[in-house]
């Protein structure tokens, strides 16, 4: 048991890769690709069970990490394999290991060709994503961040829909462009650190942050801003923040169901996670200065995503655009720089993973039966597939943010956080923080509009197409894989406390870093007085 606990994160990262190799070896030996899905399921479930070991240790102290491992990788350039989990990454790791078995299950019969390769890529993707969330060395982080592109590129390109090639290449190039600039920033930071401590450089997140906090490493405003932007661009593309979101609808729509689920549920979180982990910690001043830009873009994303979703004739594309809107909420909460807002943002990341992941799975079920994504091809499905309809409607409610389901908690926290925020200008005539919060509120209403309208068009009324009359309702596997998601929605909606407690200390330290760092303390008091005067 100690062996597992001491190497927990390494095991989590490596196990899926070993599984992928095993699946390929199995194909090479038996010349059959019928059982690879069992291998994949076994490995992902095992990984989930192992990841539960995370609970055995408490919340790490502020700035600390649990399950840490730090071994030199390429000592010639001082880069280490340094992994660890704190409140910020804790639930994201679990979200990853939780979603992966479900996405294997939803591809159970949907994938008909080249099954070995499909499940191998799925497993490799899990390795890369887990690596992103736990790595504390910038170069290794970059490595995993980029490595996650390749399996997804193949998943979209080989098993995707009609426009898959366009979507796959666009996905790859968009994300690669952003992250390459981050690589430059990472190397630059290495030398800035070397200059600051008068010694060897470092890629280590903890070391660099410590040097910054102790005042040894002070970034000039211009250099700081350039580095901030290099990091932010790569994460903004990943999130995606309006206006660099255009790869997302294509990739989500064309990807096979399992791919869309992983994209929405996990891959997008790499962007918001990166912003919180690196941008806020390394560049608090720049984060504060540019908050108004991000908040504006987030609000635009929320409303734009909702409006575009509303008019989509394509069911899957509609869900894809809801991602733009929902991730806008996450960004809004993060940049409110209040504890509540940031807690909400992290919570909303998990919610979005669960709800939108579930929505994509559900769309996949319908697609598997009818092989079309046109909303107009459906109608009255509630009559023929009552279980399916029920589950879909619950999931929709969770996505809209109905109280007692998970979406509500996240959105509520984010909006309260934004209301309480002091980050935007407070003038005598307007408190722009209120404006942003209220604009986001409109987004919630719009979400209800487009999702409920979707439900109405697809499920209610008479069955308009003869082909739909004989559709089979969900089978045991399909219901079985939805149940964990439904449970998660309810539990997270009713009892969010254990979730929030885990993230609490990490969020507090980020908030303190941003708002109370050198320039921040002054800025905050000024704003507080102004805000008070206005009241």
């Amino acid at each position: 048991m100690d062996l597992i606990a001491n190497n927990l994160l390494t095991i989590l990262i490596l196990l899926p890769t070993i599984g992928a190799i095993g699946a390929i070896a199995y194909q090479a030996v038996t010349r059959s690709d019928e059982h690879q899905k069992w291998i994949a399921l076994f490995v992902t479930v095992l990984n989930f069970l192992i990841s539960l070991v995370l609970f055995t240790r408490g919340v790490p102290a502020v700035g600390g990490f649990e399950f840490e491992q730090n071994v030199p990788w390429i000592s010639a350039i001082h880069t280490n394999y340094h992994v660890g989990v704190d409140g910020l990454s804790f639930w994201l790791v679990l979200l990853t290991t939780f979603i992966m078995p479900l996405s294997v299950l939803c591809a159970w019969t949907a994938v008909e060709k080249k099954k070995t390769a499909f499940f191998a890529f799925l497993l490799l993707l899990e390795s890369a994503m887990l690596g992103v969330f736990v790595t504390l060395d910038l170069l290794v982080f970059y490595l995993f961040f980029e490595a996650s592109l390749v399996p997804m590129f193949f998943l979209i390109g080989v098993w995707g829909g009609k426009n898959r090639i366009y979507a796959a290449v666009k996905f790859f190039i968009f994300t690669a462009v952003g992250s390459l600039l981050m690589l430059v920033a990472i190397i630059a930071l290495y030398y800035i650190y070397a200059g600051a401590v008068n010694g060897a450089g470092s890629f280590d997140f903890v070391e660099i942050l410590a040097a910054m906090q102790s005042g040894k490493l002070i970034l000039g405003p211009q250099v700081g801003m350039l580095l901030f932007l290099a990091f932010a661009l790569s994460f903004a593309i990943k999130v995606p923040i309006f206006p660099v979101h255009t790869w997302l609808p294509d990739a989500h729509t064309e990807a096979p169901t399992a791919g869309s689920v992983i994209l929405a549920a996990i891959l997008l979180k790499m962007g918001t996670y990166g912003l919180m982990r690196f941008n806020f910690a390394f560049f608090p001043d720049q984060a504060r200065e540019t908050a108004w830009i991000f908040i504006t873009l987030a609000v635009i994303g929320i409303i734009y995503g909702a409006l575009v979703a509303m008019v989509q004739p394509d069911w899957k594309r509609l869900i894809a655009y809801t991602s733009v809107a929902h991730m806008g909420f996450v960004v809004l909460g993060m940049f409110s720089f209040t504890e509540l807002g940031m807690q909400g943002a992290v919570y909303q990341m998990l919610n979005h993973g669960v709800s939108t992941g579930a929505l994509f799975i559900l769309v996949g079920f319908a697609y598997e039966r009818r092989h079309t994504r046109e909303i107009s091809e459906y109608g009255g499905l509630a009559n023929v597939m009552p279980n399916y309809a029920a589950i879909f409607i619950i999931t929709t409610m969770s996505s809209i943010g109905l109280p007692f389901l998970n979406g509500f908690v996240g959105e509520f926290l984010i909006m309260v956080g934004m209301f309480k925020s002091t980050i935007l200008n407070v003038t005598a005539s307007a408190n722009w923080n209120y404006v942003a919060a209220m604009a986001a509120g409109i987004g919630v209403i719009l979400a209800a509009v487009y999702l409920l309208w979707l439900v109405q068009r697809v499920f209610f009324g008479k069955v308009t197409h003869a082909e739909n009359k004989k559709l089979k309702d969900l089978n045991a596997r399909e219901i079985g894989l939805m149940i964990p998601l439904l449970i998660a929605m309810v539990v997270m909606g009713v009892y969010p406390r254990p979730f929030l407690e885990r993230t609490d200390s990490a969020i507090k330290s980020i908030e303190a870093r941003v708002m109370r760092s050198a320039g921040g303390a002054v800025a905050k008091t000024e704003l507080d007085t102004k805000a008070l005067e206005n009241r």
Partner: protein, 515 residues
């Protein structure tokens, strides 16, 4: 002075052991040639002799690594340092890969094997002399030896017009560039009174005619720029690469280019260094640094943009090789700006590592292109690769690994190479170099398009016509497998090689940590 000369004449500093690796390669070449004239048509034997020569030479190089470096030998004509050893190893690896990868081509097209292997060894010998030359004259001799052998190799497909065109174009333009280089060397000699690189370095600031030195160095940049294919001196590359037989193209894109880089780096970084408080040297240093940085920027942008437009894979790889020369230049310029000797050695090692990785990746890719191209490389367009991905999974997987490594994706050696060459440039912190690095990463992003295109056609498209995977001879399998393993291995465990190239020993604390 006369005493000095006399001493040199009577007790010549001619330590044969220092250039034993080079000698072994040259002798192997001669043996191959003789063997072929006495026992013609024994392809396997001449290949085996060549491989043996390469292997023994590499072994000698590795053994020499442990030596306490004397700095130079042969009255300062031969340098004996990490630059020479690491590049020498790169060239031998290239030669070995080329021998293995060319077996199929040699068989199906009836190439005169003895000549081919002998030429290859002579070219390798020339390249090794370029890396070892500590004197402009030795470098030039090495360059000509390798160039002339390579001109002939480009034209080995005698019946093919494109191959002839390739050889002739390479020869005419190559000679032109050699002339520039030689003229530049002459001017540098005129200004400093010596052709010995360390002595040039010592006298750049007290040069007779500083202007002469500037003009001379500029001409050398043209000459070397042609050999490494920096834009705007790259115009010959696509035609020459497309026309030459695929295994030779792989060799040309890797070998002579890396060799030219080795001398380029030695002459400029070590010969025209920044001397503290020296004005003339400062001007020279600043001039060549900024000139090369600008050339690097143009090269990267041009190579990548032009590669996008290509439909022929050989041509695409040719343009991509231009872009890669640009990336290597990033590390090169960084080496020029290094503040300490240790930093400089690290930067030079980074360039060597980068070219090592590029060479092995590129040779692997060309081996597959040559295999799939069939006779006369007829099938080398993107559409010829449609849908072969799942029909020949191992070949396609290997080619994908090579493309991803050229693109610089993590977990491949290409990624480590890029990180290494970008590092010294960013370390200097100069605005021009930071711009160069930013251009380089933008170039990498552009390159994603055409490298991925190959993956797209192989895996994402369906094949319209029937296609049977070719039989892969065991030598080719060895070459490709070795390249794939090297690319993946050095993507993960490159520490030892980097340290070896840089000649740095891990500090005690790090050794402990590594255990």
């Amino acid at each position: 002075m006369s005493n000095f000369l006399l001493a040199q004449l009577t007790t010549p500093n001619a330590d044969v052991t220092v250039i034993l690796p080079e000698i072994v390669v040259a002798v192997a070449g001669i043996v191959v040639m003789l063997y072929d004239s006495f026992f013609p048509r024994q392809k396997a034997v001449s290949g085996a002799i060549a491989m043996l020569g390469v292997f023994v030479s590499a072994l000698l190089l590795v053994l020499m690594w442990g030596d306490s470096f004397s700095g130079s030998a042969w009255s300062g004509m031969i340098a004996h340092d990490n630059l020479r050893l690491s590049f020498g190893l790169v060239f031998l690896m290239i030669a070995a890969m080329t021998i293995l990868a060319s077996t199929l081509w040699v068989n199906i097209e009836g190439v005169p094997t003895g000549e081919f292997h002998a030429l290859l060894l002579f070219a390798t010998f020339g390249m090794m002399m370029m890396a070892a030359g500590n004197d402009l004259v030795v470098i030039f001799l090495g360059l000509e030896t390798s160039s002339i052998a390579t001109y002939v190799m480009a034209g080995l497909r005698k019946g093919d017009l494109r191959s002839n065109e390739s050889a002739l174009k390479y020869f005419v333009l190559g000679s032109f560039a050699s002339a520039f280089l030689l003229y530049g060397m002459a001017l540098v000699y005129g200004a400093t009174g010596t052709t010995n690189i360390p002595r040039i370095a010592a006298s750049v600031d007290s040069a007779n005619f500083p202007a002469l030195l500037l003009i001379g160095s500029a001409m050398m940049i043209v000459g070397f720029g042609f050999k490494v294919a920096l834009a705007p001196f790259h115009v010959w590359t696509p035609d020459v690469y497309e026309g030459a037989p695929a295994p030779i193209t792989g060799f040309m894109a890797a070998g002579p280019k890396a060799a030219a880089f080795s001398s380029f780096v030695r002459v400029f970084v070590l010969g025209f260094p920044l001397v503290a408080g020296a004005q003339a040297a400062g001007i020279l240093h600043e001039t060549w640094i900024s000139l090369l940085a600008v050339l690097g920027i143009i090269t990267i942008l041009f190579g990548n943009v032009a590669a996008i437009l290509q439909n022929n894979i050989k041509r695409m790889l040719a343009y991509s090789s231009i872009a890669h020369a640009g990336y290597a230049t990033v590390g090169f310029v960084g080496a020029g700006l290094a503040k300490t000797a240790a930093e400089r050695n690290e930067a030079i090692a980074a360039v060597a590592f980068y070219l090592f990785v590029y060479a092995i990746t590129n040779l692997g890719a060309f081996a597959i292109v040559s295999l799939l191209g069939q006779r006369n490389d007829r099938r080398a367009d993107f559409e010829d690769y449609n849908g072969i991905g799942f029909k020949a999974p191992l070949l396609s997987f290997s080619l994908s690994v090579f493309m991803l490594s050229l693109l610089g994706m993590p977990l491949t050696a290409g990624f480590i190479g890029k990180v290494l060459v970008f590092r010294p440039a960013l370390e200097s912190g100069s605005v021009l170099l930071v711009t160069l690095v930013v251009v380089a990463v933008i170039g990498s992003a552009i390159s994603a398009y055409y490298y991925l295109r190959l993956l797209v056609v192989m895996f994402f498209r369906e094949r319209a016509v029937d296609w049977v995977p070719p039989k892969v001879p065991s030598t080719l399998t060895t070459a490709i497998a070795a390249a794939v393993i090297a690319v993946l291995y050095f993507g993960l465990f490159s520490n030892g090689l980097i340290r070896k190239f840089a000649g740095t020993t891990p500090k005690a604390a790090e050794v402990r940590a590594e255990r």
